[in-house]
Structures are given as structure tokens and as C-alpha cells.
């Protein structure tokens, strides 16, 4: 910022701020809280509520000379407007004098509050917002003790209006500030709620199906300054002052949003600590002050009755509860016997510390450490990923963000928000995808390619310029070549593991060739489907192509935090053939049912650890609730097995494991838990005494994490393996090629336990162009049977004219094991 600062005084305190700063924000920086309702620092100001009225004087300018008019002692002569002005819509000007503590201002505040309260029910004792309510707090501070209006003349409106099944509206509590409507318009670009009627009759409506159809809807409950909007999850669930806050990281995608688990003791649960709600925690470099609804509502698995809390051993065909020692001794015995034929299969929700211990065990046994994932490229992002000082929230003109094979809105919601905002700030967004996604609207260039042709589509961006490119590719390539900074983000749209690997290589190769590596705001990002897949790669895990075959040949299989048998009958069969099966998990799954030994782990909010986000930001999460029964953290279980094999392994402290990681992995070299716990002041200031300013998002006091370096940013030689052979897109006469897509609300093994989201979960629906459906004699709504590796699956047919011809889309994780494009036999259900 080289812009000159503007100087003014607020209540006699001199303040210097950049031009265009609003008076309300300038005051905030001087430590003066001007009360607001409709203003929010993340939204455009509208000046609707009049709560922020202040006195403003401006120095008189002499028109002829352009100089300030001065009085006898040389001070500029001030001209005060005859009326109070709204601090939220007035930008600062040089020499401005703002008064917020006069009687006139106090009167205005009192009157505005009295007016707002003429038709507010004041049912604070039963209102969920009570205790963290801007209206309540401001009334106590500035409001009249008594109203001159008649209580009986209050307008009474509906109190329990479901805007959808997730968000409830109390119409009479709404003070018509419009924050929720503006958030949905400006930030989420989902204008699915709006005002209807006028004056006192004004009300929030939604007409979408399902109601309030937005994956960001929960955020409106954080910024609503009253108890008008509440989540179905937290409604009447607890009082805010009973809640403790435990800092954590969202576990449901690669973004790594900073969150807080609000917990309290619950009599109904026998006095146990339970999670009452999930709230965003500010991290301007990750999620700002928002989270998506999956992150907000998908924690309920932790309290599922299907939690397993006691080790089990198979005896006479049945899993029987056992003691830890007995179970671990048995595992150690088998490992000693089968040595190198160990296959460890790990899921991407494990922490770095868990994965490090798992990898050490597997490695020293000479076994194979396999990641359960359909995406590849973690070795590449570790080398040419985006390095420290990169901030999606600051990207603007001069930056190109190229998003390929990704439905970002579904795969990483907060990145969608931030990349949309970057494009609105002037960054050039290039979207390459086989079908329309919600990112297209902000893209400078949209390039469509056929499913399977992602490599060809990307090859146009190679530096050897060719004159014969068709539009829109030509202009996109031009934009790309002119860019100072380039970030490439790839997802999993229509890709399987092999395709993902080939694409990641192509993207990395392009970045290397065009020198967009090793510098901030340049590099490769993967929209991983789990929170810590990047961490898993960094700890030494990677996925393999022939998983079923590998599992079936294993002497000992150690499956941790994943359910291959539940996902795919082929993998279930492979596990039948594999030798001794050790399963470590938190819930009952199909894989657990097959186990020879079961080891009960703790959910991540029951212990501490760290995750590495898709941007390669290392972030720490803390225990929020005590672990149930006889469970142990994953890293401790693995450590105990290692110890039984005569090795040392850390089983007490994840902090110490991170130090071991730091000693072995150069990207983690400077990392420790103290560093991850560091914070600095972030703008806008959140969660302080003046909740009315930013809402109920938590201030970050527990750590902003740290961005990991990449091989390129450390200027180390790169080690890029040869590009894998390009996969062949399966097309076969008489068969329909089905490609997998990723959906936010899939039927994943954790999500499925949150009843609240059930209505929004994806279904096994095969979506295709009407022409394609016609060719297979299918129609919308019909049920068809799809043969996958000889197993029949029922799918419902849906039509979409925007899709390319000749293929069909199927969401992942809806009970059908399709993780790569595949030509399948399809017939109408008889």
C-alpha cells in the first residue's frame, strides 16, 4: 500500500487510515466501537439501520485557493453537518472530525434502539442468541430502559419458520438489517433468501427447493445480529454462556477451515462433555470468517451409537471384546510372523502424527504404506506447490488461477468462495472442465473439453506457442502467458487415480516449464477429498492402482480410518483373501465386521494432532471432548504395536511426534506446536466485546498454523518422476461410459451419521444428456440397472441438457464403487 494515508480525529484521537476507509472501520482501529446492525466488515455498506449515527465535521475549504479556511489561531474551521451521519457509509476525508461520544449521538442511539424494539418480542430468556446477541448487548449499553410504545401493539409474527431444514427463522425477532440477504448475494452468490413486503411487515422469504438452498447457509446465523436466524442443530440446545470453546480444524475437505467446537456438560448424556455446535474461527488466510454447512453440521458421527470403544478379537468366527494387551500382543505376533507382507491402508482423515507412526511401523517392517485415495500428485504439490506467503485472499490482477477438472463449489467450498472473490478483485480465472460448474460465472476464460481429454486441453498452455489455436483457447493461453503469477488447481471431476496422476504430472510440468514454481502465489494445488491427504503423502503414503490385488496378497493387512469393504465389494473380496486383518477405526463398518482384530481409535476431536491442508498449511487441532470407553489415539495404538516389535515409538505426545517429523521432512523442518499456535492480529477484528461488528465467529487465539515450504521454494533440486502413460478413456460399443463426480454431501462414512443433512445427500443418480438417454431408451426418473464388475447397481436416471453427449455422471461415495471412468452395461429395470 503506497497510497497516502488520510488523517482525521475521532473523539479527539488522531487516526490515520488508507483512503476510502469507512468512518466505522477507522474508529474500530482507534479502539472506538461505533454500534452497528446492518454494517458488516465483509459486506458492502447499505446504511439501513441508522444505529451508527455520529457527528461529523469537515474542514471548510476555500474554493478559490483550495486551502482550508482557518480561524484566528490557525486551526481549520470546521463545518458540522446539521444532522448526524451514518459512520458505516461515510468514507474518511482529510481533516475530518468525528464525534461519537456526545449527548446528541447518545440520544440518537437510544432512539434508534427504542424504535427497533417497538416490534421486537424481547424474548431473550428463550432466545438462542441471548448472551451473544448484538441487539441485547447494544440495548444494555445504549438503549432506553423503558419504551414509550405500547407493548400490546407489537407486531406478532411466526416464530418457527423453517427456511429449509437447516435454518429456522423467527420472523418477529428480525430487525431487517439485511445482513443475511446480502451475505447470500454478495459472498455466497446464492440469492435464495430475500425480503418480501415492506415496513413492519417486512420478512425474509425463500423460494428455493430445498428451502434456503445454499451450502453456506449457516454463516447467516453467525452474522444475524439477533436471534432471528438459528440453525436446526443449535436451536434450543444450550445457552452460549454455558459453552466452552475448543479450537479445531474442519476435517471434511482439503481447505482446512479453522473452527471451534462448542462443548458443555450434558445431564441427558450422563454428565459427559458433548459438542453442541461448530463455529467458524477466523483465519483470514484460510477461511476468513466462514465455513460451509458440511463443516458446520457433519460432526455428529462422534456421538453415534455405532461408535466402537473396546478392542475385539475374532474367536470362533465372532468378534469378541478383549483387552488392549491381548489384542496388541496378537497383532505383534502376526506381524513378527508375516514380516514384510504387511500392507497398511490408511485413510485421509488421520493426522500427520498418526500417519508418521503408521509409516514408521510399516516401513521398518518392510511393508507397503498405501493411501486410500482416488487422487494422486501429493509428491508434486510437495515440490512445486504454493509456498509460504501465498494468500488466496489477496490474489488479484496479474494472477492467473487455472482450475482444471474440478467442481470447486462441491469439492472445496471455501476455496470456491475465495477464488470467486479473487476473480472479482481482478485475478484472471481460467476454468477447464467438461461441464458447466458454478465457477464458470467468474471465469475470464471457460474451456470445455470432452471427458477424458483433460491432458489435451492442458497441453494448449505449453510454452511453444502455436498460432492455430481456436477461441476461446487462444485468448486463455494469451492470458496465461502474460501472467506474472500462476496457480493451477486440479480436482477429481471425471478422473480416476491414473487420470489424476497423469493430470497432476501435466500440471506440474507446465508450471515448471513456465517458471511458476517456488515463488509465492505460484504453484500447484490439489482439491483433495479428505482433510489430510496432503499430509499423508508428506508422511510417505501414496495410493496404488492395483489395490485389490495387493490386499489379497497381503500377509497382514492393517486398515486404519477407512472402510474399503463398505465402499467396494471387490475390495471386500480382496480382504477375504488377505491374511490377518487388523482394523483400526472409530465406528462400526463393513471392514470392521471382517476384522481378525479390531482396535478402537479416538475421533480427532477427542485428541490433539495436526493436519496439512491442500494449500500445505500445517494446522493444529485440540481435544474438544473426552474420548469414550477404552479408545486410544491412532498414533498411540500404532506406537504400542511398534514397541511390542522392539522399536521405540512415541505414544504419549503428538507434539513430540511432530518434532520427529520435523527432523525427517525438510518441509516440516521448522514446525512445532508452539509455532502452529502463534497468532497475530487479523483484520477485521472478530469476536471481541463488540459482537455486533463481526458476528459470532470466534477470534483466533489458538493458532493460525504455518505454511510449509516446497522443494522449489527451498531451491532444492526437483525430483519429478517420469510422466505416467496417459490413461485410455474407456469407450466401448454398446456400453455407456460413466464418469465419477465429487459431491459435497455424499454418503461418506462420517457424513452419513448427521441426520440433519440427510435430505441433501447425493443419491445414486446417473445424469446424462436427454439425447444420450434416448439412445439407451431411458427417461428421467426411471430406475436402471448398471453392471459394475458383474455387480448390478440400481441407479435413477436424471437428465441435464448442459452435459456432453454419450457419457453419464455418477456421484462418488453414494454406494456404487465407481472411482474412475468406466464403460458399463446399462438396462432399464424390468
Amino acid at each position: 500500500m503506497t497510497d497516502k494515508l488520510v488523517h482525521l480525529t475521532i473523539d479527539n484521537i488522531p487516526v490515520s487510515v488508507p483512503p476510502d476507509t469507512l468512518v466505522v472501520d477507522a474508529a474500530k482501529q482507534a479502539g472506538i466501537n461505533i454500534p452497528v446492525f446492518c454494517y458488516h466488515p465483509k459486506l458492502h455498506p447499505v446504511g439501513m439501520c441508522r444505529m451508527c449515527l455520529v457527528e461529523i465535521g469537515r474542514p471548510l475549504l476555500d474554493r478559490a485557493s483550495g486551502e482550508f479556511v482557518r480561524d484566528a489561531d490557525g486551526a481549520p474551521k470546521l463545518q458540522f453537518s446539521p444532522k448526524l451521519e451514518t459512520a458505516c457509509t461515510t468514507p474518511v476525508t482529510e481533516g475530518m472530525v468525528v464525534i461519537t461520544n456526545s449527548q446528541k449521538v447518545a440520544d440518537a442511539r437510544r432512539e434508534v434502539l427504542e424504535f427497533i424494539l417497538t416490534s421486537h418480542p424481547l424474548d431473550c430468556p428463550i432466545c438462542d442468541k441471548g448472551g451473544e446477541c448484538p441487539l441485547q448487548n447494544l440495548t444494555m449499553e445504549h438503549g432506553p430502559g423503558q419504551s414509550r410504545f405500547l407493548f400490546d401493539e407489537k407486531m406478532h409474527l411466526d416464530k418457527h419458520v423453517p427456511l429449509g431444514e437447516l435454518i429456522y427463522l423467527d420472523r418477529e425477532r428480525c430487525i431487517q438489517c439485511g445482513r443475511c440477504v446480502r451475505f447470500q448475494n454478495e459472498v455466497a452468490d446464492d440469492p435464495v433468501i430475500a425480503f418480501s413486503q415492506r415496513g413492519r411487515a417486512l420478512e425474509i422469504i425463500t423460494q428455493s427447493t430445498p428451502g434456503f438452498d445454499s451450502i453456506f447457509s449457516g454463516n447467516t446465523t453467525d452474522i444475524c445480529p439477533v436471534g432471528a436466524l438459528t440453525t436446526a442443530d443449535f436451536r434450543f440446545a444450550a445457552r452460549p454462556w454455558e459453552l466452552k470453546a475448543a479450537a479445531s480444524i474442519c476435517q471434511h475437505c482439503a481447505v482446512g477451515c479453522n473452527i471451534v467446537f462448542n462443548v458443555r456438560r450434558e445431564a441427558l448424556q450422563g454428565g459427559r462433555m458433548v459438542i453442541k455446535r461448530v463455529m467458524p474461527r477466523q483465519n483470514e488466510q484460510v477461511n476468513e470468517i466462514w465455513i460451509c454447512d458440511k463443516g458446520r453440521f457433519a460432526y455428529h458421527y462422534v456421538e453415534s451409537p455405532q461408535r466402537l470403544t473396546q478392542p475385539m478379537i475374532r474367536k470362533d468366527g465372532a468378534l469378541i471384546e478383549a483387552e488392549w494387551d491381548e489384542a496388541l500382543d496378537l497383532v505383534a505376533k502376526k506381524l513378527t510372523a508375516y514380516g514384510a507382507s504387511l500392507v497398511t491402508l490408511a485413510g485421509g482423515r488421520l493426522s500427520n502424527e498418526d500417519l508418521f507412526n503408521l509409516y514408521s511401523l510399516t516401513h521398518t517392517q518392510g511393508g507397503q504404506a498405501v493411501l486410500y485415495s482416488y487422487m494422486a500428485g501429493g509428491d508434486l504439490t510437495a515440490q512445486v506447490g504454493i509456498p509460504p506467503q501465498t494468500d488466496l485472499g489477496k490474489l488479484g490482477a496479474g494472477c492467473v488461477i487455472l482450475v482444471i477438472a474440478c467442481d470447486l463449489h462441491e469439492e472445496a467450498p471455501l476455496w470456491w468462495l475465495r477464488i470467486k472473490a479473487a476473480a472479482q478483485r481482478g485475478a484472471s480465472l481460467i476454468v477447464l472442465n467438461p461441464r458447466t460448474t458454478r465457477l464458470d460465472r467468474y471465469a475470464r476464460h471457460v474451456i470445455r473439453y470432452e471427458y477424458g481429454a483433460e491432458l489435451a486441453a492442458l497441453s494448449a498452455f505449453q510454452p511453444q506457442s502455436r498460432g492455430d489455436l481456436p477461441e476461446p483457447v487462444r485468448s486463455a493461453v494469451k492470458t496465461f502467458q502474460e501472467a506474472e503469477n500462476v496457480i493451477i488447481l486440479y480436482g477429481s471431476e471425471g478422473l480416476g487415480l491414473q487420470e489424476s496422476k497423469a493430470l497432476a504430472h501435466a500440471c506440474a510440468g507446465l508450471l515448471i516449464k513456465t517458471y511458476h514454481i517456488g515463488r509465492s502465489n505460484n504453484g500447484l494445488v490439489a482439491a483433495w477429498h479428505n482433510a489430510n491427504l496432503q499430509g499423508a503423502w508428506d508422511m510417505g503414503f501414496s495410493p496404488i492402482n492395483n489395490l485389490a490385488e495387493t490386499l489379497s496378497k497381503a500377509g497382514v493387512t492393517y486398515v486404519v480410518a477407512t472402510d474399503p469393504a463398505g465402499d467396494d465389494p471387490q475390495l471386500a473380496e480382496a480382504l477375504q483373501h488377505s491374511g490377518f486383518l487388523v482394523v483400526q477405526d472409530i465406528l462400526m463398518t463393513e471392514t470392521v465386521k471382517m476384522a481378525d482384530v479390531f482396535l478402537p481409535a479416538q475421533a480427532y476431536m477427542e485428541r490433539g494432532g495436526s493436519y496439512t491442508s491442500g494449500e500445505r498449511r500445517l494446522q493444529r487441532f485440540y481435544p474438544a471432548v473426552p474420548p469414550p470407553g477404552n479408545t486410544l489415539p491412532d498414533f498411540a495404538i500404532t506406537a504400542r504395536i511398534s514397541q511390542r516389535l522392539g522399536r521405540t515409538a512415541e505414544e504419549q505426545s503428538p507434539a513430540r511426534i511432530l518434532l520427529q517429523i520435523a527432523a525427517t521432512n525438510p518441509a516440516y523442518a521448522e514446525m512445532d506446536y508452539q509455532l502452529l499456535a502463534q497468532v497475530h492480529e487479523q483484520q477485521p477484528l472478530m469476536g471481541r466485546h463488540d459482537l455486533y461488528y463481526g458476528g459470532t465467529t470466534y477470534e483466533n487465539r489458538q493458532g493460525l498454523g504455518a505454511h510449509l515450504s516446497t522443494a522449489a521454494s527451498r531451491v532444492e533440486p526437483l525430483n519429478i518422476p517420469d510422466a505416467p502413460p496417459p490413461p485410455v478413456f474407456p469407450v466401448q460399443e454398446g456400453l455407456l461410459t460413466v464418469v465419477p463426480t465429487t459431491r459435497l454431501y455424499d454418503r461418506g462414512s462420517l457424513l452419513i451419521h448427521s441426520n440433519l443433512l440427510h435430505q441433501r445427500l447425493a443419491h445414486p443418480t446417473l445424469t446424462m444428456h436427454p439425447k444420450t438417454a434416448e439412445a439407451y431408451q431411458l427417461s428421467r426418473g426411471q430406475t436402471a440397472v448398471m453392471l459394475l464388475e458383474k455387480t448390478p447397481y440400481r441407479v435413477e436416471i436424471d437428465l441435464d441438457e448442459d452435459l456432453p453427449h454419450g457419457i453419464a455422471l455418477l456421484p462418488r461415495s453414494v454406494g456404487i464403487p465407481l472411482n474412475a471412468p468406466q464403460a458399463v452395461k446399462l438396462r432399464p429395470e424390468s
Binding site: D190, P191, V192, I193, A194, F195, S196, Q197, R198, I205, T206, Q207, S208
Partner: protein, 173 residues
């Protein structure tokens, strides 16, 4: 019910032609007039159709319908008789006038006569305070003002509207 696009194909094209393509949401008001002309009210289906034509959210369309008191979501009579009962009119006897009008038509405020012709509504200031009692008649095509009313003059208006209703639609307005 017929889609607007079938009923008013040409009109819709003429309306849309007035706005640049990236600003076509501005056509929402004229399209809503069309919808109300077609059926005397704006149905859910019509809002959906308009949202699709203009590529905006149906919630936004509904919000506009809700904002303007002359757009109606609920079905009503062919003629909506809207009587002002705001303070200045009340001082000139609007309440008594409204009562007489209700009795004359045999319905209460908000109700529609059995023949489907008239709905009586109470409205805020119509900007004719000095000529109260005043009412306006809203039908598919627009508004007519009737000022300085007594129940006898109102009866004439109503008779005239009854006659008009018998003529085939599309006749003299």
C-alpha cells in the same frame, strides 16, 4: 394454466429487447405485469417461469412481488376495489364508507363476491386525501381512481363494472 411464453410470446420478446442481455433482470417488472394481466394474480408457476426467462433466482422474483402492494399472489376477483382508510381519509368518513361498500357487495374486507367479480381491499394513502373517501379499482389492465365517493356513486361504479364484465374480454377497456 398456460405458460406466459405461450400466451405472450411476442410481448416477451419486445420487452426483453429493451434491455442489454447482461441486464435482462431489469425486465422483471414488465414481465410481472404480463403475468398479472394473464390471471389477475402472480402464481408460483409464473414466478418460476419469469426467473427462468431472466436467469435470476425465483426468490428474487418473489421478493419483488412481495414488495409491491399492487402485485397479488392470492387469487381475487376480477376487480379489486381498494379503499383508502388512512388517517386523512378516515377523518372524512372512509371507515363508514368501507362498511357500506362491504354491505352493498355482501362481503368483508379481503373477500371476493360469489360471482368472482369483486374483492374489497383496504389500502394505505392513495394520494387523494383531499377528495376522500376514495377508492381505486385494479384489474388486469391497470387502475382507475374514484374520488369524493358516497355509497350511491360507488353503486353506479359497480353497476358499470358489472356491465363491462359481460362484454367479451379484449373489448373496449
Amino acid at each position: 394454466m398456460k405458460k406466459l411464453a405461450e400466451l405472450y410470446e411476442d410481448e416477451i420478446q419486445v420487452i426483453l429487447a429493451k434491455y442489454p442481455d447482461e441486464q435482462k433482470r431489469s425486465a422483471v417488472m414488465p414481465l410481472l405485469y404480463l403475468a398479472q394481466r394473464a390471471s389477475g394474480r402472480i402464481s408460483q408457476e409464473a414466478m418460476q417461469e419469469i426467473a427462468e426467462i431472466l436467469d435470476i433466482a425465483i426468490t428474487d422474483v418473489a421478493s419483488i412481488v412481495g414488495f409491491y402492494s399492487l402485485f397479488h399472489e392470492e387469487p381475487g376477483g376480477r376487480y379489486r376495489i381498494q379503499v383508502c382508510t388512512d388517517l386523512p381519509c378516515a377523518l372524512r368518513g372512509a371507515d363508514a364508507f368501507l362498511r357500506q361498500l362491504c354491505d352493498l357487495l355482501g362481503v368483508e374486507v379481503g373477500e371476493t363476491t360469489a360471482d368472482g367479480l369483486f374483492t374489497i381491499e383496504e389500502v394505505k394513502c392513495l394520494a387523494a386525501c383531499h377528495r376522500a373517501p376514495v377508492f381505486q379499482v385494479q384489474n388486469g389492465d391497470g387502475l382507475e381512481y374514484h374520488e369524493n365517493q358516497t355509497i350511491d356513486t360507488a353503486r353506479l361504479v359497480i353497476d358499470e363494472l358489472r356491465l363491462r364484465a359481460q362484454k367479451p374480454p379484449g373489448g373496449a377497456a
